[in-house]
Symmetry: C2
Subunit: 500 residues, 2 copies
Amino acid sequence: MTKAFKVFDKTIREIQDIIVSVSIMGWDQRVNMPVKGAADRARQIGTISRLIHEKQTSQEMGQLLEDVEKEMESHDPDSYEAALIKKVRKQFDKKTKVPASLVADIAKSTSEANQQWIKARSESDFSIFEPILTKIIGLSKEYASCFAPYDHVYDVLLDDFEPGFKTIEVKRIFDELRKEQVELVQKISESPQVRDDFLYRTYDMQKQLEFGKHVIEKFGYDWSRGRQDEAPHPFQTTFGINDARITTRVDENFLNTAMFGTFHEAGHAIYELGVPKKLSGTPLGNGASNAFHESQSRLWENIVGRSYDFWVAFYPKLTDLFPEQLSDVDLDTFYKGINKVSPSLIRVEADEATYNLHIMLRMELEILLFEETLEVCDLPEIWNEKMREYLGVVPQGDDNGVLQDIHWSLGAFGYFPTYALGNVVSAQIWDMANNENPGLPDQIGKGEFDSLRAWLEDTLYTHGAKYEPVDLIKRVTGEAINTKPFINYLNEKFGRIYGL
Amino acid sequence: MTKAFKVFDKTIREIQDIIVSVSIMGWDQRVNMPVKGAADRARQIGTISRLIHEKQTSQEMGQLLEDVEKEMESHDPDSYEAALIKKVRKQFDKKTKVPASLVADIAKSTSEANQQWIKARSESDFSIFEPILTKIIGLSKEYASCFAPYDHVYDVLLDDFEPGFKTIEVKRIFDELRKEQVELVQKISESPQVRDDFLYRTYDMQKQLEFGKHVIEKFGYDWSRGRQDEAPHPFQTTFGINDARITTRVDENFLNTAMFGTFHEAGHAIYELGVPKKLSGTPLGNGASNAFHESQSRLWENIVGRSYDFWVAFYPKLTDLFPEQLSDVDLDTFYKGINKVSPSLIRVEADEATYNLHIMLRMELEILLFEETLEVCDLPEIWNEKMREYLGVVPQGDDNGVLQDIHWSLGAFGYFPTYALGNVVSAQIWDMANNENPGLPDQIGKGEFDSLRAWLEDTLYTHGAKYEPVDLIKRVTGEAINTKPFINYLNEKFGRIYGL
């Protein structure tokens, strides 16, 4: 390490420590904070976010970057040093385009918006959320305008969550998916239906949590390096290489919520905990992007957790915990039930075949909002129209419709597409893992996940966030993002379940 | 507000927000953090503490202070503005006198010392702790020397915890207390003893917590502005005017631990929540000092929570929760049991009559160490000698003796006296409250605390940390710190219980 790089590295790591303090405050805000603490917390997060922004965009940082870039040629392009310099340079260039006051406004408003969203959702009244949402969208437009000119205003937002991805590319991928998924859903709807009534019986909430904990421990989630709490909108968050936490929601009358939610968030955490120690404490020390993160959460939740093999291993444990509730449900019935395809109102409860349709709806609305062809006040109406069009169902209230997701309250426009991209990537990675480890399904059938996790660690997690998604997918799978593995996965799985 | 003051005020409030982020990280560290997260968290807290120190001692801060001091005469001496300027000036002068390298050395050594102390205590072996303790005392002397000349080296240390208090004054107060308390304890030991065996029966831990919550809710602790968690070493912490949290430890086989611990921490929190909103988010927006804080925790824990009137109101609830455990215990027996005087080894478990003797012992040893008339290696021996002299008991091992408290490992010399001063102040304030509200005991007998709390808010909490303790005690009670009310309180209470 040169002297210049040492100073640069130390500075970046100090900033990362401050970023973590905001993550801790955010976790506390969503998990523990007493309701009346909201205003102070919003201000505190605003203050520290502003401080981080100042440090990330300071003249000193610009100088440090120039110093280390002078020596760029001395670093292997795949080295930690080269990746860190590239990452910080991109961030610096992006952030120096945005005024500190706007960053603080966004932080403060979104913190307030989160409280308003909770209130609006609990009262199922979009009008409570509308004013602050309008404000946030305004601030996001202001943010995007800092990056003009662009091919599409939405490219700017997308780049924050999926660096390097373009709106036009995501639209193309979604067009491929939409055609295939709508067709599959149509065929399924014309087939004999499977039963899932038993999932809605009364399940003791503590036992639900116990089952989830049991499973993710087998996945390899380490309680000495993480914890699980309850939160109304589950999420995963990372405070260090040995502290990656998850949250879960439990529904006494729907078994899937806590169960698959826990597998999902554990998937995120396992990714974070698998990043090399050397990268931790820097902007390279996390998952590569939202889509890659989602590829891991969906892999553990769906490809593993909703597979027949998995339930061969774990159904006995579940029936031990809930002997009465599942007394009339054999393994085959259970497997089909948890995979029942049924167009529904709530994204997070959507099955694998319809899930991406929820995403497409949201992305289309976001694009309309940012293209300024849709007013915020018209959101509930157009939401309901598109739900009818894509899924054939219409929510009775805003709580089950336009207010169901937290994302907009956080100002996270451009985030939703990464969920669908994550599904696509998860199938690509799963195919690759299977090609290289043909014994995986058998191991899963025995409740063993060590070689899957080790393969993911060696192949994907080891890169942390060193590469942009478009590059990383090629390094991991040898090809660009490709919808075929996911489409094949859906068609095969549901073809078998529904006898298509 | 002048322009200069506005900038000053804004800067101070921003620093305060960053200080709160460290508090939140510290709370999480002690309440939630997975074990392996410790190293990262220590580094993160170190980074942000360093940042705070930089901001508090920067040239910019010096300039801001000079700017507002130019206008000092335009402010009422009792105004928020004058108090804030004075407070920050004192802090700035103190912090800028200490070299950054010494601050770093102290931080590093105390961090190491804390680990050594934990090891030494678990092995009950002072020699493990001795080398690093010697080092810390050396660093603390170096710290004190930054403030030479002084009347007494210990004055410097005391000032960090009880601003403005002098060693000579604390010694005088302790001499008065020692004489009276030793005499009282002697008389009690010669009287017929009361029973407290029932406190050590098996008490369901959830019900213990439930009782504590019930009581502090009646005290006025507002769950929408705070929360309670479990922690091995209970503490109170404040994240804002609407977020003052407490922690509690529960012992299944000792009723006092959670019960009085909860009342105690709630007392701290009620003080913090009673500070005026205008002061919050600044260094004036907390309790005035350690002794004043302790006066409030001890008031609610002891003067209220261990009073006969209190138990007239709450014993029925307690026996409802624990009908079997308390079946042979009437109100009178219970009241005497929780007030049993019994010289013991452990400070945190000491009764009201002996508690201050534990404190005196510690302060005397600290003063000897800093006067350089005591070697660190001789601490265990002199500890045990003084225990025999003051309390008539001698620990078998260092774990129950000289190693029992965390304070020295944190370098917190000068902290202990504030506990005893808090007891003294609590009685002065209680006398005043009673003089002005003769109905208080009757109200407490009905489980009503609103007028006590309102009086404390109007009389004490309203000042936040605007005044130094020596000034504040006069504003609240009209007189200087005075041991008589506390001595009278002890003599009356225990005179009645033990029929002296």
